[in-house]
C-alpha cells in the first residue's frame, strides 16, 4: 500500500497504557457523537426559525452559541487527530501529548457547554465584545466560564501544534518541513530525504496554529481581565480584530489539517503516490504567510478599520486560495484522473469533500470581495458558505478518514450507497436553503427571521432531518464494517 511506504515505522505503544490506535478511535467516537448531538441542535434552531417549534430568543441564541462553539471545537479535534494519525508514522510523536491536547479541548467544550446550558450564555460563538458584558440575560459567572472554555480549546490546540512542530524540527527542521530544500539546493540533506506532503501541511498548520492560539490567549486574557475588573479598558475595534484573527484562522486551519489527511489517505485508493516537489513547497509557504492575513474580511463593514487592512485583507484572502485551488485540489484531481481508483466509502467521501471545499470556497471568495460583501455580510450567505466547506468539506473528509481508519475497505453495498445518497441529498437541500436566504437578504443569527426566512427554514428543517438520518445510518455502517474487518486490518496498518 502506497501510504505505508512513507517511511512508516510504528512507534511507541504509549507509556500511559494508551495506544495511538485506541486514542484515535476514541476521539473519533467522541467527535462523531458530538457532531450528531450538535447537528440535532442545528436542526432544532432551523425548526424554530421555521416556527415549527417555539424557543424564546435567549434560548435560541444560547443554542446558537453552543452549536457554533461546539462544532468548531469538535472539527478542530477531529481533523487534528486524523492528521496526527498519519504524522506519528513520519515523526517522533508521543501519544501522551495527544491525550493532553484532546483532554484540554474536551474540557474546554464541557466548560462552554455548562456556561451555555446552565448559565444561558448566548452572544454567539464569536462572543463579540462588549455583548458578553452588557445588557445580557445570563449571569456573570457564565461569561467567565465560557472564556475559560475557549482558553482551554486554544491551549489544547497549541499543545497539539507545539508537539508536531517539535517533531518536524527534530526530523527535518522548519525550512525543510516546508520542503524548501526542493528549491534551495543548499538546504538539501545528505540522504536526499524530503518531507512528504503530509508533513509540509503539518508545518504550515503548526506554525499558524501556534500564532492563532497565541492570539486567542491574548484575546481571552483581555476579556477575562475585563470580566474580573470591569474598569480594565478594552478597545472594541482591537478586540474585534483579535476575535476574528482567532476565530477565522482556527476554523480555516481545519481545512489545512484535512489536506494533510488527504495527502496521506487518497493514494491508498488511487494506487498512485503523492510526491513532494517544489510546487508544494511554494504553495504551502504561501499558505503559511497569507492565511493569517485573511481575517480582515470579517471587518469590511467596519468602515473605520485602517484602509490598508481592508485592501490587504482582500488580497490575502484571494492569494490564500491559490495554493488550495491550483495545487491541492487540482493535485487530487490529477491523482484520481484515469487512475485505478477503488471507489470505497473513504475515497467517495474524500472526493465529495473536495467538491464541497471548492464550491464553498467559491461562495467564500464572493463574500470576501468588498463590493459583494456589502450585501452578503451577516446574511445567511455566511452560514451557507461555511457549512458548505465545513459540513460538506471538512466533515466529509473526517468521515472518509473514519472509513479508512476502521479498515472498511470493502466495496460499498446497496445499504451504504442508500445512506450516502440520503445524506448527500439532505445536505444539498439544507445548504441550498441557506444560499437562498442569503440571496434574499435574510440575516443570519436571527431567532425570528423576516420573510422569506421562515418558509426557507421549514424546507431547510426537512432537509436537515434527511441529512441527519443518512449521516447516522452511514456512520453506524462504517463502524460495523470496520469492526468486521478491523482485526485483519489492524495487523496490516497499525
Amino acid at each position: 500500500m502506497p501510504t505505508e511506504q512513507m517511511g512508516a515505522v510504528d512507534l511507541h505503544g504509549g507509556d500511559v497504557g494508551v495506544t495511538p490506535r485506541w486514542m484515535v478511535g476514541v476521539s473519533l467516537v467522541i467527535g462523531f457523537g458530538l457532531i450528531f448531538f450538535l447537528g440535532m441542535v442545528g436542526g432544532v434552531m432551523k425548526a424554530a426559525q421555521g416556527n415549527l417549534v417555539h424557543l424564546s430568543p435567549s434560548t435560541f441564541y444560547a443554542l446558537l452559541t453552543l452549536h457554533g462553539d461546539g462544532m468548531i471545537s469538535t472539527v478542530v479535534l477531529l481533523t487534528a487527530v486524523a492528521h496526527w494519525y498519519f504524522l506519528r508514522r513520519l515523526l517522533n510523536l508521543r501519544v501522551e501529548v495527544l491525550v493532553f491536547a484532546v483532554l484540554a479541548i474536551v474540557w474546554g467544550l464541557v466548560a462552554a457547554a455548562v456556561a451555555i446550558l446552565i448559565g444561558g450564555f448566548g452572544p454567539g460563538w464569536t462572543f463579540l465584545y462588549p455583548l458578553p458584558f452588557i445588557g445580557n440575560t445570563w449571569p456573570v459567572w457564565s461569561t467567565g466560564l465560557f472564556f475559560f472554555g475557549v482558553l482551554f480549546v486554544g491551549i489544547g490546540f497549541a499543545i497539539f501544534c507545539l508537539d508536531i512542530l517539535a517533531g518536524i524540527i527534530r526530523e527535518y527542521g522548519v525550512l525543510n518541513g516546508l520542503a524548501l530544500d526542493t528549491i534551495f539546493p543548499r538546504l538539501r540533506r545528505a540522504d536526499g530525504k524530503v518531507a512528504p506532503p503530509t508533513v509540509i501541511a503539518a508545518t504550515m498548520v503548526s506554525i499558524d496554529g501556534i500564532l492563532t492560539a497565541a492570539a486567542g490567549t491574548v484575546l481571552v486574557v483581555d476579556l477575562l481581565a475585563h470580566w474580573a475588573m470591569p474598569h480594565f479598558p478594552v478597545d472594541p475595534l482591537w478586540i474585534k480584530n483579535l476575535t476574528y484573527f482567532f476565530g477565522h484562522t482556527i476554523a480555516n486551519l481545519t481545512i489545512y489539517l484535512s489536506a494533510g489527511v488527504i495527502y496521506a489517505a487518497l493514494p491508498h485508493y488511487t494506487g498512485r503516490p503523492w510526491h513532494t516537489n517544489r510546487v508544494y513547497a511554494i504553495s504551502w509557504t504561501t499558505s503559511l504567510l497569507f492565511v493569517p492575513w485573511a481575517w480582515p474580511h470579517h471587518l469590511y463593514m467596519d468602515f473605520v478599520q485602517a484602509p490598508w487592512l481592508q485592501i490587504f485583507g482582500e488580497a490575502s484572502t484571494y492569494i490564500a486560495t491559490i495554493p488550495a485551488a491550483v495545487v491541492t485540489i487540482f493535485g487530487a484531481l490529477l491523482l484520481v484522473y484515469r487512475s485505478e481508483m477503488r471507489w470505497r466509502i473513504g475515497s467517495t467521501f474524500f472526493m465529495a469533500g473536495l467538491l464541497g471545499w471548492l464550491v464553498g470556497g467559491v461562495a467564500a471568495m464572493i463574500d470576501a470581495t468588498i463590493p459583494f460583501n456589502e450585501v452578503l455580510h451577516n446574511t445567511l450567505w455566511v452560514p451557507a458558505h461555511f457549512h458548505t466547506y465545513l459540513l460538506g468539506g471538512v466533515f466529509l473528509f473526517v468521515i472518509g478518514f473514519a472509513s479508512y481508519f476502521a479498515g472498511d475497505d470493502a466495496p460499498p453495498t446497496r445499504l451504504t450507497k442508500t445512506f450516502e445518497w440520503v445524506f448527500f441529498i439532505g445536505m444539498i437541500g439544507f445548504l441550498a436553503m441557506f444560499y437562498a436566504g442569503g440571496i434574499e437578504g435574510v440575516p443570519r443569527r436571527e431567532a425570528v427571521q423576516p420573510v422569506p426566512g421562515p418558509l426557507l427554514a421549514v424546507i431547510g428543517t426537512a432537509f436537515a432531518a434527511v441529512l441527519l438520518i443518512g449521516m447516522t445510518g452511514l456512520l453506524i455502517e462504517i463502524f460495523r464494517r470496520g469492526q468486521r474487518n478491523g482485526a485483519t486490518h489492524e495487523r496490516e496498518v497499525t
Binding site: 440575560t137 472594541p236 463593514m301 473605520v304 491559490i322 459583494f372
Partner: protein
Amino acid sequence: MVPIAGKQLVILVLWLALSTIVVIAFSWVVSSTKRPVPVGDVQPGGYRLRRLWGWFYGTLLVAAFAVTLWTVPYAWAQGSTGKPALVVHVYAHQFAFTMPKKLPSGTRIEFLVTSLDVNHDMGIYSPQGELLGQVQAMPDYTNVFFFTFPKPGRYVIRCLELCGAGHSYMFQPLQVYAPAPASTLGGRSA
C-alpha cells in the same frame, strides 16, 4: 419572495456558473477512472494543464481585485466625489436606531454611525425587501457611510449584528420622500 436584482443577481449567477463548472470537472474526473492508464501517461499533460490553470486563475484574481479597488464603499475612496452630502447621525442601541424617521431620495447622504452599547449593524432594505447596503455600528467609533436612496418609499432599517435577546426585533421603518423640486432648492442639485 424578495425580487433578486442588482448585486444579488450578479452574485447568484456567478456562483451558480462557477459551481456548475466545478461539478462538471469533478464528474469528468470521477468517470475517467473507468478507463485507467498508468500515471506516467497523464502526469506530463496534467502538469501542463496545472500551469495553464494557475496562470488563468491568477489573472482572474488580479482582475477581480483591480475592479473591487474602484468600487469599495469607504469614505477615503468615495469622500471626494459628488456634492456636499446631507449629514445624518445614527445612534444604534439595544434595540433601536436613533435617527431621522424621514430622509430624501436621490440625495447623497453621509451617515455617521455609532453605537451606544454593543456592536450593531445598520442594514438598509428597499421597499421590496432587497438588502441594498450596510455598515457596522461599533461603540467608541464612528463609521462614515455614504448612501443614496434610489427612489422614494417605505424602507426598513434592520440590525444585522447579533446584539442581544431583542436582536430580531431591532428594525424600524424609514420613510424616503422625493426631494422638493429643484427650483425650490435654487436649482443647485437637480
